[in-house]
Assembly symmetry: C2
Homo-oligomer: 532 residues x 2
Amino acid sequence: MNGAETLLQTLLNNDVDVCFANPGTSEMQFVAALDRHPAMRGVLCLFEGVATGAADGYARMTGKPATTLLHLGPGLANGLANLHNARRARTPVVNIVGDHAHTHKELDSPLESDIDAAARIVSSWVRRPATPADVGPDTAAAVAAALCADVPGDPDPSRTGTSGAVSTLIVPADLSWSPGTAPALRRTQRALQTVSHHDIDITAALVTGPEPAALLIDGTGLSESGLKAAARIQKATGTLSFCPTWPARLRRGAGVPHIQPLGYRAEAVGRQLSGIKHLILVGAREPVASFAYPGRSGILTPPETTVHRLAPDSGFDVADALNRLADAVTPDLFAPLPVPDAPPRIVNEALRTKNWAQVIGALLPQEAIVVDESITEGMETLAPATANSPAHDVLGLVGLAIGQGLPVAVGAAIACPERPVVCLQADGSALYTISALWTQAREALNVTTVILNNRSYAILRAELDRVGAGQIGPAATALLDLGQPDIDFTTVATGLGVPATRARSTAELAELFSTALATPGPHLIEAILQPT
Amino acid sequence: MNGAETLLQTLLNNDVDVCFANPGTSEMQFVAALDRHPAMRGVLCLFEGVATGAADGYARMTGKPATTLLHLGPGLANGLANLHNARRARTPVVNIVGDHAHTHKELDSPLESDIDAAARIVSSWVRRPATPADVGPDTAAAVAAALCADVPGDPDPSRTGTSGAVSTLIVPADLSWSPGTAPALRRTQRALQTVSHHDIDITAALVTGPEPAALLIDGTGLSESGLKAAARIQKATGTLSFCPTWPARLRRGAGVPHIQPLGYRAEAVGRQLSGIKHLILVGAREPVASFAYPGRSGILTPPETTVHRLAPDSGFDVADALNRLADAVTPDLFAPLPVPDAPPRIVNEALRTKNWAQVIGALLPQEAIVVDESITEGMETLAPATANSPAHDVLGLVGLAIGQGLPVAVGAAIACPERPVVCLQADGSALYTISALWTQAREALNVTTVILNNRSYAILRAELDRVGAGQIGPAATALLDLGQPDIDFTTVATGLGVPATRARSTAELAELFSTALATPGPHLIEAILQPT
């Protein structure tokens, strides 16, 4: 057994059994060891941003980390943007990054770079084993750090209260090929923290008091259990509930009380929170604008609203807190669920912002996993259109680094092979990590991708006005325009091994979406959207 | 004039007039300002790694930096791998990275990350202007830092002796939209350093002495002037010349003395340097292995060889040093050029490692720019096959972070619109930055890309053996195999707007390559290579 095998077996001992890999020479020992440890599933990704995004999607659905296998500093660098998203979503991810052998570092060979500095940008925990005997314990510690579990003898206060984190283990090549030591056993996983009775009582007084209150819920509060508790609280007290615009994971659809996402723009949030005197954060952060704009505050809570914290972040058991709060304010065990509207009759017309999501909502299968990187095209239309679809989970773009959707879909499909994955993907963002389609094809994943092709960075067109950039001319317009030439996503997907079709009308989208869902393996539908 | 315009006009005052951009909200003021400063050419890239690679290619051909325009930390992160390559190639690149407004930083909004830490990984100079009055001077300083020019009042010893570097200016959004101050004027560019007479004399004694000596040349020594001087030295003294395996820029072809690249693998270098008693580095670094292997030294210079330094790095005027050395050892002003062999008759057969480069070499047009990311397929075949082609420049993968080729071709074509660009691109690496094809199409660049499709990470298959990974099974094999499904690059390129064809034989490649070169705009040829 060499060091690479010690590492692999320790991962397996710690219930980490999927590796999204884009290896190089310094990681060849791990690659070779896969055949001797067949319980570890290696999934080849053709770009590191696919591997890191897939690990994020996998962990959001399983609650346990996958590992990535990345090649030196540049390989890690290519994966950083989706690790940023994982960090923001508090997803557990374990990165294994190969490094040169100790003796080789001083030669400053071509790929030498500061791996540790790159890792620290996104990781709550970074370590490089110093000796072969460290490989096992350090690997177990990496898993524990990703799970924010207690690591005996390794207290790290920065991990307190997070539900998951990115950890990075940097492994010099000589430790991989040196004789290994015994793999380490499983570390204890720390449970979510529990909100105190005192805090429940204080919040109960607020929501039953005379002044309008609202809950802003995140974390496990967006599970079916949490949302049902929120609905009980609303029925008993009139307290509204909101969630972040794009939460890491949200339960939605028939049988699940609908929760209103906060709008992406400050004006929308202002309308939503208008008149609310008490905003109670339940596992959520205080809402802030994604960007600053001249002369506007970035704090979205209205000035007359007082902010309270029931659970300071998603590291608390938010669903439990909501259920206890509901028990405190009402004896009713159930709130009436919204009566599903009859699905809107889909009129056959050209696809636009206002109608594409209705098609998806009408045809979404039971227990779908919806990966939402629809951005401009979905920010106001997707939630209402899918509120009464069969119950499903939605995975959102918490960290706003685009290029997450296709990789997260890979990871979610590997996590839940029995569930259909629907990836709603903006066009501009899709090209960042387009090779994820190839991995979907190789692994025969049941992912239906809908590219929302509006042929522009539409969100930036809106932003130009909002930052006060004034009148723009052809040079600026060209930098926001994805036409000239038009990207033919149908053809690109075909070249990467994914069957693809194009829809221009609601009827075409409905037919192609149904067919794709009924056919095993990945499919891509390019929805050509007309300007609104 | 706002701060963004101060920045743009300062760049123009400093002769920086091309911007490879993938902007977001925090960079909208720059985008809007482009129409008021039409001398700045904005080039939209659909992924930041394309923007940074294009800036590298542009500067290698012009000697002056382009600027990138990147969106916050994740945008910079996506560009890091090709900035690593630029750093290793000592290419001047100026990154402009937008950041949130000062007041917005403390809100820790979704895209917040440590931009400065990411920048420092690849940059010799990182600064964020503190006030509007700093924008002009700091922008001029960023250009000077990239050019390793003297910056009055800003001595930075770390820049000494480099010919170009990556500099990063991080611009908070509020400085872009605030009223600007006067743009700064041009800074002085520092000339390359000159080698001393004493060092020339010492080297002359070595190369005329009794023991076999060889030159390892890089930097401006790989220009026509430098290579002709090296040929004079060889004729007079028998001193051989070598260059790095993949130098940043190399002149090659008819009328240019051929220089032997060092092999990629240690064994090859050992053969090349066998019997050499004195290895003289002329602008080059001491040769080291790209990776460590169990039980082998990473230092490639044979133990019996003494290393000498004539010019310690490529920040010296290496061509001048070689010419003065040649003058010192021989009165001859010219060395006989190699008599071009008759071009090999191309037999029509299936494409393989051994014959594809001969087709390229036979048909390469005058003054081509050859972007070489052919890796395994070209490492032993390209140099001999093109030694007698019409004179051309070769741009290599100095930093070994794959995914450089297609973007560097974008930048080279924008730098030299009158010259044909030929991009020789390995298949595995191509997908990293495939959207560069779209930019080639939009800008109607004269780039002919040849994808060398061997359907594997071929170099890693060879490396598995070399790291002593032993027998491998199907799990490991799958992680190095780019088939299942085969990637159809012809189709992918078509979808991105680049006309594409496929060649399976030498005759097909010859015909398609000639046609592509004769037709304006970008083309892609997918060369399907049979196993050797």
